[in-house]
Every structure is written in structure tokens, then in C-alpha cells.
Symmetry: C2
Subunit: 233 residues, 2 copies
Amino acid sequence: MSEKTEAAPTKPPMRDALIAAAFQLFTERGYEQTTVDDIVTLAGVGRRSFFRYFPSKEDVVFPDHEGCLADVTAFLAAGDDADEPVQRVCDAVRLVLRMYTENPAFSVQRYRLTKQVPGLRAYELSVVWRYERAFAEYLRGRLAGRRDGALQADVAAAAVAAAHNNALRSWLRSDGEGDVGTEMDHALGYVRSAFGAPPSDAERTEDVVVLVSRRGAPLWRVVQEIEATLGED
Amino acid sequence: MSEKTEAAPTKPPMRDALIAAAFQLFTERGYEQTTVDDIVTLAGVGRRSFFRYFPSKEDVVFPDHEGCLADVTAFLAAGDDADEPVQRVCDAVRLVLRMYTENPAFSVQRYRLTKQVPGLRAYELSVVWRYERAFAEYLRGRLAGRRDGALQADVAAAAVAAAHNNALRSWLRSDGEGDVGTEMDHALGYVRSAFGAPPSDAERTEDVVVLVSRRGAPLWRVVQEIEATLGED
């Protein structure tokens, strides 16, 4: 996705000017009290220009999600059978994180706005749902041969989205301070461990695990002990 | 929640008449083409009666979710420390399933309607999100002492909701045919296994010991640690 910063032609200055004008007004007078007319007047363009870029006032609040969703879908489609499926989805969700971290001040501003306006909260839920469906569709394809493949795909997709949101919201609540990349790795690592996907090479270095188990111990107890032991590091 | 069928006083006939009239019109002429005036005319009541029961036209499509959300929250709050947390949430989500299975024909009709109307889809996502938040809040409380408790709570809550939706939607797609209760048990069983929650008391008998050692540790040290660990029992 290093092409993203080179993709300037798809983000013309007028679009950026409209976003800037919209957020200035949302901050000054509130989201509900700002009309599309107010936004285009401040940006110095006509109404038709606004609607060329944004179907509605809500869409200007989330200007990069459509592009990011397309990036995520393309990234998943570009994978091959050698990719561990849940790992691939974890890598895809990092593209969403990057959209937020590319402009922390804007992301924090939007987070505060979304918390205040129920309509934007609903819009955001529908966006999150679309990412989750993209993850689930990819995983359903990859796990198609497995018993319960669709179930496992849906659950893993929801788990990745939830872990991402946990780390992202924690960072947004703290005004974009702190190392969200490390927090995200940790959160996604938890999901991978829960679904039995092997850890990344970086984590597969020194440690050896010796397991001593009583005959007849259920698998969940074995997994629980391994997790508890590894967690002590 | 066996009290639910006895709670008739909270579901007066006028409310049921409004729901029936609304769904008759939604089916005959479509959701968007039906106004609240159309609904109250068919039901033979005034507009104020409609708004006494439903804040908006969307709410009449999901008449039982507020009550069910209250039931779920109360059920979780009534648990105690002996409950395995994820198991408790799995039991809570069965209350949601029961709301759907109490009236399969209505649930299937609503499912088809929701798929056709984007506004209703958004409404449903916000309802699902509220259940998921109720699960997460409960789990955050129960896992508060754990490292990563909030992360684990959010991920497990999302996983339970996803498993529930997988089984529920499969049943709704097949027009309410088949044994959704068994499918739901299976789906929730998968979530419990993924998150290491104990399936039942019967399996909580034998113990497991885990040792983590650095690669290159001499064998005598490994054996010593195994002996020391087993000796702790």
C-alpha cells in the first residue's frame, strides 16, 4: 500500500478543501448545525462540487474509508495459499490502522465528533461491518474446505475487527499519544493465539515449550496453560 | 426468562395491532412506501398511539429488541463469580435467539425486509452493537484482574455475537426451518473452545503443567524444572 501516498491524483485539492472546511465548521458550531451550503461557502466552491466527492454530509466525515476498503479487499485478493489466513487478515487490518495514523489529529477530531453524533456512530458501525464482511468473505474462501469453515471465518473476522477496535479506540481516547502499532501487534497476536494460528517469525525465536500433561486432559486446558505460561514473559 | 410469556401486560393489544398492520403494509407496498399514517389508519388508532409505543417507523420493525436487551443485561448482572464468564455470555445470547424463535414467521419476514432496506440494515447493526457492548461490559468486569482483560473481553464478546449471527442467519435464510438450537450450541461451543473457556464441570478434572525453556538449556535443567513443577501439586 506504499502506492497510497503516490495516489495524489485521486485526492484533488478541492476534495481536501471541502474536508477541511467541513471539520472547521463541525468543530466551531457542531455537526448538526452545519449544512452542506455552509461547507461549500467556506470552501469557496459550488454545491455540485461537494456532491461530486461526497454522497452526503456524513460521507465527508469518513472521506478515506471507501478507498481503504478497496485497498483492504485488493490486499486480501492478492494473497496466495501460502498465507496463513488469519495472519493475512491481521495484515489487512493494519491498512485500516494506517489510515488513522497517517493523520492523528484528524482521526482524534473525528473520534470525538462520532461519539457526540448518533447518526455518525451508526455510519461508523456500517463501515466497521463492511470491513468485517470483507475479512469474513476472504476467510470463508480460504477455509471453504474445513468443517465449520464459514463459522470459523465469521468468528475470526469479528475477533480481528474487535481487537483492532480495542487498540485503535484506546489510542484515540488518549488523543493519539503512544505507540499504537505495538499495541495493535499485541492485540492481533492475542487473536492469532486464540485461533491457533502460528506466531510470526519474529516471535518464533528462542523459547522452547515443554508440555507435561495428564492423560485425558482436555485440549482447552492444555491451550489455557500454554497461553498462561507464554503470557508470563 | 420464563416470565416472558407471562409478561403480557407490557405488550398491550394495540401495540401488537400496530406491528401487524405495519408488517402487512411493508409486505404489500414496501417499507419506504408505507407511512406511519398508513399504519395507524389500518390499525384503527391515532398517530399518538403509534408514537407512544415506537419512537419511529424503524422501531416497529424491531419491536422486541429493547426488551430483549434489558433481559440480557439483567441476566448478566444476575450472574455470580462461579459462572465461567464466556459461558455466561453464551447463555445470555440464547435469550436473543429465543426472541427470534418465539415467532419464526415474523423473524423470517423481518429478515427479508432488513436485507432490502439499507436504513433497516443500519438500524440492525446498531442493535447488534448494543448487545455486543452489553457482553463486553460484563466480560470486562469479570476479567478486570487479568492482563489484557479488556482486550479479551472485547474479542470474546465479538466472537459470541458473530457465532450467534452465523447460526441465526443460516436459520433465517432457510426460512426458519431446521433445529437452530442445536446449530447455536455448536457455534457457541466453537467460540468457547477457541477462547479456552471450560466446556463443562465434567471436563474440569485433570490438570496440566507447562514449562517454557530457552533453546540450548541443558537437558538436566529441563528435567529439574519438570520435576520441580510436578512437585508443586
